[in-house]
Subunit: 398 residues, 2 copies
């Protein structure tokens, strides 16, 4: 039956303490967690409910549906059942004796209409943005979280091995994606990748073969691929994978809520010389960035270093996308969502800290020809980057 | 390569005219479409950009990325490239000679933070909610749209046939879902179902076998299933499908942006008597509601009729969920999103109109035992309901 997975009580306590510290520093009296992934992160359950976190003291989990499962999943001590969100003010003032002077909401995901509804529930309360605080806490992973990500990485490595053994000329990109996802689900893949931004659709089928890799498009990524139609114009499409062409496969994995995001180059038969050199170059950039990724280095420095390296290797034109359509980042945070803060983007002055986890993805686009890219998940430790990924950092000739 | 699919120009013109009529009635000077599905619906492209629709006259499509694909996909006549969203006010006043007095935004999906950004771009403009207008236009499907949904329904029917032929004892729920999704992608499934509400995750793997069907949970649906972990506690899980148990399989399909959403009961070997009777009862309710679904009938009347029918058949306790956890709806609109307005929910006084399309899903939950349900897609015509679904409305004994 359901995997015996539960976020440990001390882990939940650490997270609550973390956000309370941020709330105290910003003088926010309470946070009301609404979004499902944040709720899972701070309470251990993703049932339908809200988590009320005062700046000091015990949090209160208010569950609409379904109380028995929430009780089994969450280690929050005070859990009560409510019939409607409208009950929140009364239940909160019941427990805490009063309503807070200010409440932080997730302004980065909560729609305007829903916010207006919450605001009228708390007419005398100052409603502010709690999302920066949430991201700041989530950004630093505990050892327990690193272990969860390592489990996901093991399963992802098996999936790459499966692809290596099963890729054949004649499969369409979408067909191959269906095959490796079916394999992955058998091994525990949760099927749904979590992405926070409502305009970004996370999906595990970014299979770009040959010319598909040379297609720019909607994605905030160097290559969009063809997709299945104008309705979903990115990722795998109906193109058949051929022998002797570069195939870039970006696999997203989620296990017990923790993500992996990895990319490797494949070729059936022989990788064309130009693509082989480019694939080797992105691996060289990837490894050089890992060597440099130590606490204290700024995100911008990492990007500039990667761009400089690409220039040195003769790939200034293709690196991060074709001229005019380059993306500004080489990696992104990862954890209970596929894309988390911080983004390793140009201009970002924030510095690496121990406990951060990233998907590092230097990619090149040869417009109308192909993509060459590599992507691994790593953690920042006191002494430098440590790969969480278990997939060999190499080019897969099948 | 990409399926030669394009929303016809007269279809786009009809939609623009439709929302302009609503805007004029509500005295909204312009709408700014931001969300990707709405953009696809009103412009034909889902590239990264915005569609500006004045209450009268030609719309303006402003594309950030990627112009060549937007030009190929959209029949909007005025399409311009912009570097940043910040360029919107200047480009709009360039084209129309002035900025509008009011702009409608998608308040039901646009996060507070993004809205605040747009609002400061238009400091002298009244920002209002355009989402009810958008839904009102999208609610009524054209003949062209019905044909798209029929194509999707054909492919979905093949998928049910695949399941019927491949379901075996010993597969886990998630394993079976991977198998039929792999088959479906080969036939053109777009893999990503579109759901509007950020708290609702649409997925095509709602496989609930035996006791999994008896599990209440987070979903606003009679049965949640077990899911893969506390992080994603609904849908298919790790339970193995057994012979002689009721298996409820709810398949979501999307093809060229148009959805299907269908449920059938399966059993390997023999359906237990109690589940067989319940499965026959939901089909009886399903067919009776279809007979009653004519223009002019209110949504509430349909629900009350279905509930009355369930009572008559002796299933008051199980219908729409166990006591205390019943949902209030028996169906929902469907089209370019899996769940659209209107919802066939208790208390809704709106009336059926020709051109509406619904997924009708009467379901019962026998808590801790199993679910029995059926779901089909139908359109409302002048003379009554017409099934779009092509899957036989029967119980699949395999």
């Amino acid at each position: 039956m359901q995997q015996p997975f539960k976020i440990p009580a001390d882990e939940i306590a650490r997270r609550i303490k973390g956000i309370q510290k941020e709330m105290q520093a910003k003088d926010i009296a309470a946070a009301l967690i609404v979004q499902r992934v944040d709720l899972f992160y701070f309470s251990g359950t993703a049932q339908n409910g809200n988590l009320y976190i005062p700046a000091e003291g015990e949090p209160l989990l208010l569950i609409r549906k379904y109380m028995p499962r929430a009780l089994g999943e969450s280690s929050v001590r005070r859990i009560i059942e409510i019939k409607s969100v409208k009950d929140l003010p009364l239940r909160i003032s019941d427990v805490y004796g009063k309503l807070p002077g200010s409440i932080g909401f997730e302004f980065d995901v909560m729609p305007v209409r829903e916010f207006n509804f919450y605001r009228q529930l708390f007419p005398d309360t100052d409603c502010v943005d709690a999302s920066p605080l949430i991201h700041k806490v989530r950004m630093i992973k505990s050892d327990w979280e690193i272990r969860q990500m390592e489990k996901t990485a093991e399963l992802s490595a098996e999936t790459f091995e499966y692809i290596r053994n099963h890729i054949r000329p004649g499969y369409t990109e979408m067909e191959l994606s269906g095959m490796f996802e079916a394999f992955a689900r058998k091994r525990g893949h949760g099927a749904q990748l979590r992405v926070r931004d409502y305009q970004t659709e996370g999906y595990p089928w970014h299979v770009l073969s040959g010319k598909s890799g040379g297609m720019v498009g909607v994605l905030d990524s160097p290559a969009s691929g063809e997709g299945t139609s104008a309705a979903f114009p990115c990722g795998a499409g109906a193109k058949k994978i051929e022998s002797n062409e570069p195939v870039m496969i970006d696999v997203g994995w989620v296990f017990n809520g923790y993500h992996a995001d990895e990319t490797r180059m494949f070729a059936i038969g022989k990788m064309p010389e130009k693509a082989m050199r480019a694939s080797e170059a992105v691996i060289e950039i990837h490894n050089a960035v890992l060597d440099k990724a130590k606490p204290g280095v700024s995100l911008d420095e990492l990007v500039q270093f990667a761009v400089g390296k690409a220039e040195t290797l003769g790939y200034a034109e293709q690196f991060l996308g074709p001229p005019g359509y380059k993306v500004t980042f080489i990696g992104h945070g990862i954890g209970v969502e596929l894309i988390e803060t911080p983004i390793i983007a140009a201009g970002k002055k924030d510095r690496l800290e121990a406990g951060m986890t990233f998907a590092l993805e230097p990619k090149m686009v040869f417009e109308n020809e192909f993509s060459a890219g590599v992507e691994s998940v790593f953690q920042v430790t006191e002494t430098g980057a440590r790969l969480i990924s278990r997939v060999p950092v190499e080019i897969f000739i099948c």
